[in-house]
């Protein structure tokens, strides 16, 4: 399908990885330039470098990664013509329909070719994909794309409304995938296209439950069995590397320190108040000093205390009146409790530098794509019903064009 050489050559399709949300396909055409906000590049400069290289912009501004296309990268980079299938559904359908090297598969409709590329890769040159698209312009674009990607040997694209006209092969394919607005209209046609000498499978991809119910009835009426339905989604996880969580012991220690500090301050203020009032009284009248209770002294110094506190805080100086000298400790971290001061003499609160990886599901994720209705057709042959051969068997070469 795509180049398997180690190095990029002129004419190769590459996928430019700009960011994980901005991938872009590019055909290497020496003489052309690729310019974006991620820098300026000459196609010629990419020729000869290994796939998977990080490439710096010519002007030294920015870089891109030049990757080898895979169906999975193509799904992320392809030009959207329709709603497309993504990895989770593609992978699950491939697996449930038992698509593997050598498988013959029908797909309708082609859409933007996301599923087609994946199936073509998986069935390989020994298998085949018949793809049908009822929209002429889209069919044309897909045909060009498949040709450019070297898939002509593996994929046969037909512009056709399969609900009306059926498929171009009979008793041939191992599995059928229907991504149509009304898959039930194509179920009988699908049955004709499926081979009858072994178990074959069908998948109908519909976003609405009402479609599922109609499809199930059609499958049942057509004799399909093991009808079942699945829903599959990917939950992307967001991993962060964060400091180990603080044990509450540290928090309680901080709180205790703050409490001690407050008490120290209070006692100091009382002491300071006493001293002041004592000296005041001494100045006024030394005889009344004995009658005064400590409580009254405290009350009378309330105003003073406030003043002291204000002074201390506005000045931002250590409380030199404390019994022990105070050390200011920086516990850094914005979420730290507002008590950065700890009395010296006790060991400073240890700050752990260890980090852990934590993960959670991304806050917004894809919630629904479609319901996947599966059924199988067993190689049991009751007397075959008379079928007018609307769909003649044709070789892939005939169908093309």
């Amino acid at each position: 399908m795509w180049s398997t050489a180690r190095e990029i050559a002129a004419g190769d399709l590459v996928i430019l990885w700009l960011t994980r949300e901005a991938l872009q396909p590019l055909v290497i055409t020496p003489g052309k330039d690729f310019n974006s906000k991620f820098g300026h590049y000459r196609h010629a400069d990419l020729v000869g470098i290994p796939y998977g290289s990080k490439v710096a912009s010519r002007k030294g501004k920015g870089f891109i990664h030049v990757l080898r296309p895979t169906p999975e990268l193509w799904t992320m980079a392809l030009p959207h013509r329709t709603q497309i299938l993504y990895l989770a559904d593609i992978a699950f359908i491939t697996s449930h329909l038992n698509i593997k090297p050598g498988s013959r598969v029908i797909e309708a409709g082609t859409g933007s070719g996301s599923f087609s590329h994946s199936v073509a890769r998986t069935v390989g040159s020994a298998g085949h994909l018949w793809s049908y698209e009822f929209h002429e312009v889209r069919a044309g674009k897909a045909r060009e794309e498949f040709a450019r990607h070297g898939m002509n040997d593996i994929v046969t694209l037909t512009h056709r409304n399969v609900c009306r006209e059926g498929f171009t092969v009979t008793d041939t394919v191992d599995s059928v995938f229907l991504d149509l607005p009304a898959p039930w209209e194509a179920v009988e046609h699908a049955k004709q296209a499926l081979r009858k000498d072994r178990t074959t499978r069908i998948c109908c991809f519909s976003p609405c439950m009402e479609q599922v119910l109609r499809t199930v009835n059609a499958l049942n009426d057509a004799g399909f069995t093991e009808i079942t339905m699945y829903e599959t989604l990917l939950r992307p996880l967001d991993v962060s590397h964060v400091p180990v969580l603080t044990p509450i012991g540290e928090i309680s220690e901080k709180l205790k320190q703050a409490e001690r500090k407050r008490e120290d301050k209070r006692l100091k203020q009382i002491a300071a108040g006493r001293q002041q009032s004592a000296s005041k009284r001494k100045r006024e009248d030394g005889t009344r000093m004995d009658d005064q209770s400590p409580e009254a002294a405290e009350d009378s110094t309330a105003v003073e205390r406030k003043r002291i506190k204000t002074d201390e805080e506005s000045a931002g100086v250590p409380l030199d009146v404390l019994p022990e000298p105070v050390q200011v400790m920086d516990l850094d971290g914005p979420e730290d409790f507002d008590a950065p001061v700890a009395p010296s003499g006790r060991s400073p609160v240890p700050v752990s530098t260890a980090k852990i990886s934590v993960s959670k599901v991304m806050s917004e994720v894809r919630g629904h794509t479609s319901y996947l209705t599966f059924a199988s057709l067993q190689p049991f042959s009751p007397p075959p019903p008379e079928t007018e051969s609307l769909t003649a068997a044709v070789t892939p070469a005939d169908v093309e064009s």
Binding site: H43, P71, E72, A91, K100, V212, T228, E231, R235, A393
Partner: protein
């Protein structure tokens, strides 16, 4: 008429062959694995037994009834429409004596060879409240009775999906919780295709190896690294009933010692001069030894040459140490896929990978899968469902350009204000294909590596 030639070399026969391990679904929904060997009798637990030859050369997927050790094909049954009635369980009380038919009587009927459907019919006739039941309830009753008395089974085609499902339900720890959906994502992400070259570390009983081999179709190279002296048996592959070419041309193994470049495996000499060989037996032993030695040395050369398309890991060992050892052998733009039942393991791994320059955008996903019962008028998700199929980490191997990042880092600050105007000229003269609709890219290139984790994937 087949459009492509039928000379496709298939990975296994489309019919049951002598020597195959065949999975059978029995009426209660359980799946049993039986060995079908020509001219033997196969016994399915207490359900019954049949002559193996009856099953040989039969296509998969059919349902059989066992009658005197012979098999009678039962036509595939479609869903029967159930008519809605006004019946409710208003007047039905549990524990009431409703079934006069005793177990002994039923047993006698069974022994006398009365057909299941007749026994059930008889039970229904005797049932006191059967007519009061809703039609849905009647259906359930009949189904339950059938499960109990029916002597039938259905062969299950050993597709990768079915084999994975079987192991997942039987013993999910042995396959490290890899559910069919996770497995298929791993195979797609690793870009497994015919002709590819892959390295796998499979401590999941060979489920990953089976998946890779199935998708390679006998072309290419799969090199596995194991923790045992000799290549591991990978028991899951036995259920796939692969034809020899699927494995023999493709799969080779090394172990963690022989996979080390600076280690010289201790190998007894096999090149002994002709005149010193004493017997034919010794000669054949020496030849065998030489073949083993050559294989080992060739496999080592192949690993050390590198340029593998992908590395797939489902291991019980430290994934970072595995990546350090094996990612040098992955080609540029190749995929690295790691599965683990535990998110913590992959979270730590992702953090480590983000600190290394050769991994592009490692991201972790968990697959969600929900099955629905789809019966007419009774469609709903199944009441019991699998909680997890494990986690998958995917990254792309890249060749770093240290100068590129250096330049970027210098320019990180002045770049911000320019971001808006740059978005406009995103689709440029040089590109052949238009960019997909979403052009609202807020990240400048230099921040990609820094905050990959906070980006949405897909």
């Amino acid at each position: 008429m087949a459009a492509t030639s039928s000379s496709v070399r298939e990975s296994r026969d489309s019919t049951v062959q002598s020597g195959d391990l065949v999975l059978l679904r029995i009426p209660n929904g359980d799946i049993k694995g039986v060995k079908v060997e020509k001219d033997t009798t196969v016994t399915i637990g207490r359900l019954g037994s049949f002559y193996a030859n009856e099953l040989i050369d039969q296509p998969y997927g059919l349902t059989y009834e066992m009658v005197d050790k012979r098999l009678k094909v039962v036509p595939p049954r479609t869903i029967q429409e159930v008519e809605d009635t006004d019946a409710t369980n208003e007047l039905i009380n549990d524990g009431e004596f409703v079934q006069p038919l005793t177990i002994d009587e039923i047993q006698k009927l069974k022994v006398s060879g009365v057909h299941v459907s007749d026994i059930i019919k008889k039970q229904i006739e005797q049932h006191a409240n059967y007519s009061l039941k809703t039609e849905y309830s009647k259906e359930k009753y009949k189904k339950r009775k059938e499960e109990k008395y029916s002597k039938s089974f259905t062969t299950i085609e050993p597709t990768l999906y079915n084999v994975c499902d079987y192991w997942f339900n039987k013993d999910k720890t042995r396959i490290r919780d890899i559910r069919a959906d996770s497995l298929s994502q791993m195979l797609n992400l690793a870009n497994i295709r015919p002709g590819g070259r892959y390295i796998a570390v499979d401590d999941a009983s060979g489920l990953v190896v089976a998946g890779i081999l199935d998708r390679m179709g006998g072309e290419g190279r799969l090199l596995t690294i194991c923790d045992t002296d000799s290549p591991p048996p990978y028991p899951v592959t036995a259920n796939m009933n692969f034809k020899p070419h699927v494995t023999s041309n493709v799969l080779v193994s090394l172990n963690w010692a022989t996979a080390e470049e600076d280690y010289t495996p201790i190998i007894p000499p096999s090149d002994i001069p002709e005149d010193q060989i004493r017997s034919e037996r010794q000669k054949s032993r020496l030849n065998k030894r030489k073949a083993v030695t050559d294989l080992l040395s060739n496999t080592r050369d192949e690993l050390f040459y590198g340029e593998f398309d992908s590395l797939i890991v489902a291991s019980e060992y430290d994934p970072w140490s595995i990546l350090e050892k094996l990612s040098p052998y992955v080609a540029g733009s190749g995929s690295i896929v790691v599965h683990s039942p535990h998110i913590q393991i992959l979270s730590d791994l992702q953090t480590q990978m983000r600190g290394a320059s050769q991994y592009l955008c490692p991201n972790i996903t968990e697959s969600f899968l929900r099955r629905y019962q789809v019966l007419p008028g009774r469609t709903h998700p199944t009441m019991v469902t699998s909680g997890t199929g494990g986690f998958v980490l995917h990254a792309i191997k890249i060749y770093d350009d240290p100068n590129a990042s250096k330049v970027i880092f210098d320019r990180r600050k002045p770049k911000k204000p320019k971001a808006d105007q740059a978005t406009e000229q995103h689709v440029t003269s040089g590109s052949d294909s238009p960019l997909k609709e979403d052009t609202s890219i807020e990240n400048t290139a230099d921040t990609i590596m820094l905050d990959v984790g906070s980006q949405k994937v897909q």
